[in-house]
Subunit: 448 residues, 3 copies
């Protein structure tokens, strides 16, 4: 950053006071760095705390949820930095990859796709399989993203297509190939307990809060970024209410289901991912959020059982309802919004700025852009399903140490779980220094 050097000189030698170029440059570069730098941490919180805790809802797979999420993210970030470096630095003459703060945020985005995919196979694969899945996932992501954003020049700031559609169908395809007909052997572990549901809400809330940052992190700075944040915020707020409404409507006696509150409340953020930076208007965002809350919650109630029974896709976290359907909706909403964009709404230079109709794409018009957006959605689907089936076949090889059907959803397999449950009744895991004996004593007394 030669600019920073410039400003130092300027402090030392005050005679040259012409800062017309250097000062704006420094202000710009610094401000952009700060935006990106804070964006990184915000997005970081979603990746590590958000995704990690969202998956802790299973009663005995919280270590796996938060721990393997951590492992995937830490590995994926590094691999993504390399992949992106190779992809975007082919013209560099020294062959070295430069890592700036911007790359870190892109790496987080890459990783998000793999973490979404993890949701489909949660509890059914080994950490080795997860690393393999991440290795291929990041690679596929980098190619797919390059084609959609650079070749097709589609816009996808929040990644409805690039991240959510890709990640979800990648995971679902893998889960389809790895179908376990006898998974009900571990059915007793495939559910939540009271505390694990509260832990999962930590994930939900951190995802919900920072989703506007996520969707606006790589949007065009300035107007586009503000629009993306506000549109996402409104879509999310709207989704919460329809999720609660549908959850209560379809459950017996109008009770709410934690699974819906934990997941479907986020669907609006997924669905405005592509269109968030467009002139969707508050009204449009609220409508998208409204319908996504309904569709996602209905998905959990009606579509997930169908997926498992008819299509043989076992989807532990219900990513089809949270990421796949809303992601596809997001892609379609994006294509329509782009096709419908006019100079009247966007202002004089707004269209050019929002869609980057510059350079080789200078002659594009909104309707054509809408077609390319739709093409982008197809590319995401093809890479996800094709790649997922291939990776699923690789993961079917009997060398990866995956758990038996009766050991799925059980941390015991890959973790040293405190309190050996064979010797001490698990109740005492809660407070083992007095109960075991006491308890047994009580029993003896009672029976005496």
């Amino acid at each position: 950053m030669g600019n920073c050097m410039g400003i130092r000189n300027f402090c030392d030698r005050p005679k040259n006071t012409n800062v017309r170029w250097r000062l704006p440059a420094v202000c710009f570069v610094w401000q952009l760095s700060m935006i990106i730098l804070f964006g990184v941490f915000d997005v970081h919180v979603m990746i590590f705390v958000g995704f990690g805790f969202l998956m802790t809802f299973l009663k005995r797979y919280s270590f796996g949820a938060v721990g393997f999420n951590f492992l995937i993210a830490a590995f994926g970030i590094q691999w993504a930095l390399l992949m992106q470096g190779w992809f975007h630095s082919l013209d560099y003459t020294d062959g070295k990859i430069k890592i700036g703060v911007e790359n870190l945020i892109n790496a987080d985005f890459c990783v998000a796709g793999c973490l979404i995919a993890y949701g489909a196979v949660l509890g059914k694969v080994s950490p080795v399989q997860l690393l393999v899945m991440t290795l291929f996932g990041i690679t596929l992501f980098a190619v797919e993203e390059y084609i959609i954003l650079n070749v097709l020049h589609a816009k996808d700031a929040g990644g409805s297509m690039v991240i959510h559609t890709f990640g979800a169908y990648y995971g679902l395809s893998i889960s389809w190939v790895l179908y376990r007909p006898n998974l009900d052997k571990s059915k007793h572990l495939n559910g939540s307990v009271y505390q694990s549901d509260v832990f999962a809400m930590i994930g939900t809330l951190f995802l919900w809060m920072f989703w506007p940052s996520f969707n606006s992190a790589i949007a065009d700075h300035g107007d586009g970024q503000h629009r993306a944040a506000i549109n996402t915020y409104l879509a999310l707020a709207s989704t919460v209410l329809t999720t609660v409404a549908i959850s209560s409507l379809f459950e017996k006696t109008g009770k709410l289901d934690m699974v819906h509150i934990q997941n479907s409340t986020l669907a609006g953020g997924v669905a405005v991912g592509t269109a968030a930076e467009f002139m969707l208007s508050p009204y449009g965002s609220l409508i998208v959020g409204f319908f996504c809350g309904i569709i996602s919650t209905m998905g959990y109630i009606h579509f997930s059982p169908f997926l498992e029974e008819k299509l043989k896709i076992q989807d532990t976290c219900g990513i089809h309802n949270l990421h796949a359907m809303p992601g596809v909706i997001g892609g379609i909403v994006g294509a329509i919004s782009a096709a419908a964009a006019t100079n009247t709404v966007y202002g004089d230079l707004g269209l050019e700025n929002t869609f980057d109709f510059t350079g080789p794409f200078a002659k594009r018009v909104p309707t054509i852009q809408g077609g390319y957006q739709a093409a982008g959605l197809c590319v995401a689907l093809c890479f996800a399903i094709g790649g997922g089936i291939f990776v699923g076949l690789v993961l079917k090889l009997p060398i990866w140490g995956d758990p038996a059907d009766e050991n799925c959803f059980d941390d015991e397999i890959y973790w040293e779980v405190p309190e050996d449950e064979e010797s001490v009744p698990p109740i005492v895991a809660y407070n083992n220094h007095m109960i075991p004996n006491k308890h047994v004593k009580n029993v003896q007394q009672t029976s005496a």
Copy 2:
């Protein structure tokens, strides 16, 4: 934002290098946007994670605490955006409400008042009642805020009066109208367990950490904002120590009570809400925090039982100790600090800038301002108590699906709680795949 357009032009057409007006404008607008944008997320964390988890302390109402908090906030934000839009856009000719990032932070502030009120009725009302309470609460808030800040021109950056006093007395008045003489039927659920207290500490810490952001978010940018953050920080630090001291002093054998640590440690932040942006001085902030820690903790020990037994106000979270008393203290401290402000302390333009003695208020002097601050406190109290009694009467109608006295504080009523406790002993909720049988077997062996 025409400014952003300006800077783009400047990039495209470098011939016009006169950026004297455009560059400062862009720098300013961007920097302010960033401050506000990050402010939004910080405040967001308080609203969703802070308030939500603070109320998870009840052993079987964590779903309700964090889930209904989420619902109230998501609905309240939208309603607040509309209310504020109507209030502040009467002079717009096109009748449309413009939503900028500044509005989002104000919406969070509105919602905070309603979430405080929720603390008083936690576990005793239905989600429908909560939505009604939020609808009226936001409406009252918008009017009350307009009168205090715009008509009276009182200053209240951290909302001691506007948010805390209003929110707390609004909730307490509702709770008074909804008094349940037989609430002890669900006494066994009106308490914490070990893990729920740890969850509540998540709420406490996120509130504590981001309170300086909250109090400084709408303070005058620059000096005032820094002062607000530092004063709040010091008041909070001081409160922690006196809370620990009083908690230990009044409990048998000097033990600490988690209820005090979770709540009273935040009282200092409430009490410097109004005066935080004034020249309170570090010394003054520490003193305010010192006394608020004492008063709030003493409130939990002595005043809450009195409130319930004599005044018939059942206050689940003790918001009288955390928000009502410190809020009123904050209003009084603010009035005194304003009345005592002098040019000597604030510097040449400091008084004008801090108190905005401009336009129609150009002739105000500090002593008069102090009077208006006190008037603001009265307005907050009137709206809170009057509005609360009215809304309480509305909520007394037998149509809202509120729980019976013996079902208060129980998530079972409104949530699908994992593990049906009728058929399986709740212990096994912790790990139900091996104990039930085993346990029974053990017992049989012992008794054989």
Copy 3:
């Protein structure tokens, strides 16, 4: 801040349009304030949530972990503000201490050292002892920091020496003096349960995510700060993978141990603390992280038992593995990187800027700087061990109310723990409103 005044004048009286000096000054000061302001909160999150929750892993000491951490931090911050004020304001003529936002972040750094030390004695000391330990710890820290950073002019942005080495050996020395030969009397409580391990992961993840902010918070703004963030990020990512590898390699049947995942994954961040702002290169950071993950995890497996049995140092959280060893490594890496720095790598003014070779240190060269860095490490060790032994002896006085050997690691001693375990079996702490009777009834029926 006269600059802000300047800009106000500029708005009121537009005739004087010469902003060449004022505008850059305002931009700079504001931007730096923002960086620092957000830095404060980020670091705050580490201090209160990160350290607090990291120590909740014990089954019955979560209140003590998060509550006493809160107390230490709130007291320590205030004491640190005073200590730093006295140290850096000797030349002020009015004798008053000015508190700016920069001071708050430094106070957080001071406190971090004491919280690290708390990890060694967790569960074995009284809150009064913790306050005494903090009082002396902050004082020693302020002197040690002054000598290392100002007198020796060593660089230590992330505090490998100043914070981690000092804090860890300070705590270990105190623990050595307070050695309890009969600590195994409370062995049954010195371990985790399932939920407490999940709570601890909240701490781990917040520390992990914000560590780049921590290491870069006081680095030279601009280049140095970006480098510090990126280097830390890469070191941390690398550490996660080697920690998982070693944990799996040395545990029976390849299982992972939560203790390692919670702690060793952070070792890379400690070890790049000093060198993070140097030209360590991504490659170097990855290598440092790689080896620290190995060393730290091996430390938990092999070195901690040795420390306890042979050296009589009881280290509850294993801070020797997370802070002491990586901190010393960080100091050495820093000394070597400094000694090896060349103009070729750092660019023309890079050396001067990175190492602040200005004023009285204008003649320093990298090799000499390397020597001073090593001297800094020695100073940190001397202050830590000497100070720790002295404070340990003070804490051995029988007046501080520390727990008996059989009551260590038990919240019961200092906290009102919900649910009296004498009268009700602890299982029902999970849900006590129906089990006790039922359960006993079941047993009776079985035995009948």
